[in-house]
């Protein structure tokens, strides 16, 4: 095992948080440049954020399940299963939100159903407001289960 690719906390953060959230950051950066550095509510796409956060939740779930650095008893196993279920649930919720937002955006744009715009904005706000929950929970899970990864 070489020094460069040894499993570490930093590598875990990059692969499980950095990579999935990269599309959101790139998209926001591009829009920021195009909008002449003006921050608007549509600078960051709620749909992309929902998908990225859903992926974070699934990645963390997989990481906890695959973690071998455990000396488990029944309570520890149950706690891990509970955490996995939590992240799976979060993932499903954000994937559904992604689908709803994309669907509503398409319907509002193509069918000109303006009355659905407030519903769309409602879902977008839900995503923006709750996106931090799985991200902070992912960091907490890493610290609880000492998760690590290696970049190959």
């Amino acid at each position: 095992m070489s020094q460069k690719n040894k499993p570490s906390t930093i590598a875990w953060m990059i692969t499980h948080l950095g990579y999935p959230l990269l599309p959101v950051l790139i998209e926001a950066g591009i829009r920021l440049i195009v909008f002449d550095w003006e921050i608007r509510i549509d600078t960051m796409s709620a749909a992309t954020l929902a998908m990225s956060v859903g992926l974070v939740a699934l990645f963390v779930n997989q990481s906890i399940r695959a973690d071998s650095g455990t000396l488990g008893d029944q309570v520890e196993t149950d706690t891990r299963n509970g955490t996995c279920t939590f992240f799976t649930g979060i993932g499903i919720i954000f994937f559904i939100l992604f689908g709803l937002i994309v669907l509503l955006q398409a319907v509002v744009a193509e069918k000109d159903m303006v009355n659905l715009r407030s519903t769309l904005q409602g879902f977008q706000h839900v995503v923006f407001f709750f996106a931090a929950v799985p991200i902070f929970s992912a960091v907490a899970a890493q610290r609880t289960y000492k998760l690590r990864a290696e970049i190959v």
């Binding site: 095992m1 020094q3 040894k6 499993p7 570490s8 906390t9 930093i10 875990w12 002449d36 550095w37 003006e38 921050i39 608007r40 509510i41 071998s68 650095g69 455990t70 000396l71 008893d73 029944q74 309570v75 520890e76 955490t83 706000h125 923006f128 407001f129 709750f130 996106a131 931090a132 929950v133 991200i135 902070f136 929970s137 960091v139 907490a140 899970a141 610290r143 609880t144 289960y145 000492k146 690590r148």
Partner: protein, 286 residues
């Protein structure tokens, strides 16, 4: 791009930013309360060094005194059964049985810091890894690649504190080059930990490392406390001076402690209070 442009746009999305900040604070509190951080202590030493007795004495002390205003609750049926059986053995003078191969186990407890404001209360999960001496010895002496895949190795590489245990009676007698073997083995173990620890060597240097001289009663015996335990402690420190220098260069938090699960000093087992104070986290925020 102008600075005023950016400032204007920041002001225009002020409510959204405030919402995002509020969301982050709520998320942080939620995560902290529901997914408590774990604090792992790896206890490393040769067979029969007194590792399980040390863990038992540490738990007995924590159950009795708590930690810096926090309460401690054993977690899990196995931990409760084992720790209470071991405490009973220790109190009745039977002595704790050596840990066998199938006993690879982490004692778990939850530490609760209570606050008048409920959401400021916090808790963390304390895990103390107890390993059979044979595995521990393999860890400190073996270069085998298979070791990296063992549960023991994986667990130890995420530890937040390290206790290296030396049998003080054997160290004092120094038969079969016991001191030299211990020093060489612990140095190698530390180098292995530095190489593979998940937090990297810089953050590792801030974690507590303790060299424990266990079973002080075997050497001090009935002379305690007429023969000063400090003098015996000093003699052992001299024997391990180069290892101590090595640890002190590599870590910011290192100490040595002389312990006994038999002898008492101010109604506490010798050295256990010092060990608990040094090894457990200083901050509730972790």
């Amino acid at each position: 791009m102008t600075f005023s442009n950016l400032l204007d746009s920041l002001i225009s999305v002020g409510p959204a930013l405030a919402g995002a900040l509020l969301s982050m604070i709520i998320s942080w509190i939620f995560a902290r309360k529901n997914i408590p951080r774990s604090y792992r202590i790896a206890v490393i030493g040769f067979p029969q060094a007194g590792k399980t007795s040390l863990i038992t004495a540490l738990f007995a002390y924590l159950f009795r005194n708590g930690i810096r205003g926090a309460s401690i609750v054993a977690r899990g049926e196995e931990t409760i059964t084992r720790i209470n059986a071991h405490i009973a053995d220790m109190e009745s003078g039977v002595g704790v049985a050596p840990t066998r191969d199938q006993d690879l186990f982490a004692y778990r407890a939850e530490v609760h810091y209570r606050s008048a404001i409920n959401f400021l209360s916090s808790r963390y999960k304390l895990e103390i890894g107890d390993f059979p001496g044979e595995q521990s010895q393999t860890f400190v002496e073996s270069e085998s690649p298979w070791l990296h895949n063992t549960n023991y190795f994986q667990w130890a590489m995420g530890a937040d504190a390290f206790i290296f245990v030396v049998d003080s009676e054997k160290a004092a007698a120094n038969r079969e080059n016991y001191v030299a073997r211990q020093k060489s083995a612990f140095r190698a173990a530390w180098q292995r930990i530095q190489e593979h620890h998940i937090d990297g060597s810089v953050r590792l240097s801030r974690k507590p490392v303790i060299l424990v001289y266990s079973k002080a009663d075997r050497e001090l015996g009935s002379h305690f406390p007429s023969i000063s335990s400090e003098r015996f402690h000093g003699e052992l420190n001299e024997k391990f001076a180069d290892l101590i220098d090595y640890f002190q260069q590599d870590t910011k938090r290192f100490t040595t402690v002389l312990t006994s699960v038999v002898l008492e000093n101010s109604s506490e087992k010798l050295g256990i209070q010092n060990l608990a104070t040094f090894v457990l986290p200083r901050s509730t925020l972790l």
